[in-house]
């Protein structure tokens, strides 16, 4: 799983300070190691009930999807009769920390691959079967299962010369005013963090707990589902699932959450 050239280019280097203000007051990274713009995980803004539910590995409803994912991992699929386990053996070992490095750049195609994309890449190229659609029970279960293998590990999305352009794009989207409400992500999730929006406390908007079981959804959903919901919230045109725009935003968010630990499957209101 190489990520191309390991060249140390700091995302800040070509940006003047006034163009985009730094997200958190930290110094720029000195090496290729991504210096985490450490923030607060969304769970710290949640109620005691939600925090307890996420922390309880049995009561957490998202664990039902993890359990299902474990079964799918071992079940052969496609004409070649290959299971995930046929190549990757024990996920508890082979998949540990993998999700924490996603999304990553697919250097061959120059596109961003999130964990859902990687799963479907495997399904198409290794298992020779059909890709799963976003929010299908199987894709959510597999995503939950894979991300669960990185639980407790720090997110480590690095920005280099190869994925820099996509990162810039994601950053621009994060800071772009849009929709009838003319709001950017940055307004709620950086400038108004901790303030109230009706009965919600605005969080920093990290994706480190995805896929999450959201009480509102009454099911598990992907980060893209939540992002689409945000686009809807500000009354902007909603990108399709898997759209380049959402992938670039996911990359930016992944970098932005680097250092926070993976909490999948998370629980939210």
């Amino acid at each position: 799983m190489s990520i191309g050239i390991w060249c140390a280019v700091t995302p800040w280097s070509s940006h003047s300070a006034e163009s985009i203000p730094p997200i958190f007051s930290i110094s720029p990274p000195a090496s290729s190691t991504p210096l985490a713009p450490l923030g607060r995980s969304g769970i710290t803004f949640a109620s005691p009930d939600i925090r307890q539910l996420q922390a309880d590995n049995f009561a957490n409803p998202g664990m039902l999807w993890v359990t299902r994912g474990e079964t799918i991992w071992r079940t052969p699929s496609g004409v070649k009769g290959q299971a995930c386990a046929s190549c990757h053996q024990d996920a508890q070992q082979s998949m540990q920390g993998v999700s924490a490095r996603y999304p990553r750049l697919d250097t061959g195609r120059g596109t961003i691959l999130n964990i859902e994309g990687q799963i479907n890449r495997c399904r198409q190229e290794q298992q020779a079967t059909t890709p799963w659609v976003y929010e299908s029970a199987d894709l959510l279960a597999m995503t939950a299962y894979l991300n669960y293998q990185s639980r407790g590990m720090p997110i480590a999305v690095t920005i280099d010369t190869d994925n820099r352009t996509q990162w810039e794009r994601g950053k621009a989207i994060f800071h772009r005013r849009q929709g009838q409400m003319n709001l950017a992500c940055v307004h709620c999730h950086e400038q108004l963090v901790g303030r109230k929006l009706l009965t919600d406390t605005l969080s920093e908007g990290h994706g480190n707990a995805y896929p999450i079981y959201r009480l509102e959804w009454q099911t598990v959903g992907s980060l893209q589902r939540r992002l689409r919901s945000c686009f809807n919230g500000v009354r902007a045109a909603i990108p399709d699932y898997g759209a380049e725009e959402l992938l670039a935003l996911e990359l930016y968010l992944g970098w932005r959450s680097s250092g926070l630990t993976v909490e999948a499957p998370g629980v939210r209101r």
Partner: protein, 106 residues
């Protein structure tokens, strides 16, 4: 139907055991509408039972007021080594079962 159960593997006779069960089910209320304004038909798990040593020790009868992916925590008095059997069924006739054994020591 996918479910997760939590039963102590060992207990002392006379001890009150904590039993937990979580079932993957939408618990469709019958009030939720699709994109065309048609209601999804009501389909909820209506009964869940737990048998221990051949006797029913807990039973839940429910409607659409129980949250999606139903979760229950209840108690059973440890009496003898044996099997706890869980069974449930929804309105569409689909059901599920799980079992776990507990070793009771004196």
């Amino acid at each position: 139907m996918l479910a997760r159960i939590q039963v102590p593997s060992q207990a002392r006779r006379g001890e009150v055991m904590t039993i937990r069960i979580s079932i993957q089910h939408a618990m469709e209320t019958g009030y939720r509408l699709d994109d065309f304004g048609r209601a999804y038909p009501k389909n909820v798990i209506h009964t869940l039972s737990c048998h221990y040593g051949g006797k029913e020790v807990f039973r839940a009868e429910m409607g659409s007021g129980i949250a999606a992916n139903p979760y229950f925590e209840f108690y059973v008095l440890a009496d003898q080594s044996g099997e706890l059997r869980f069974e449930w069924q929804d309105d569409s006739g689909v059901g599920g079962a799980e079992r776990a054994t507990v070793q009771v020591v004196t």
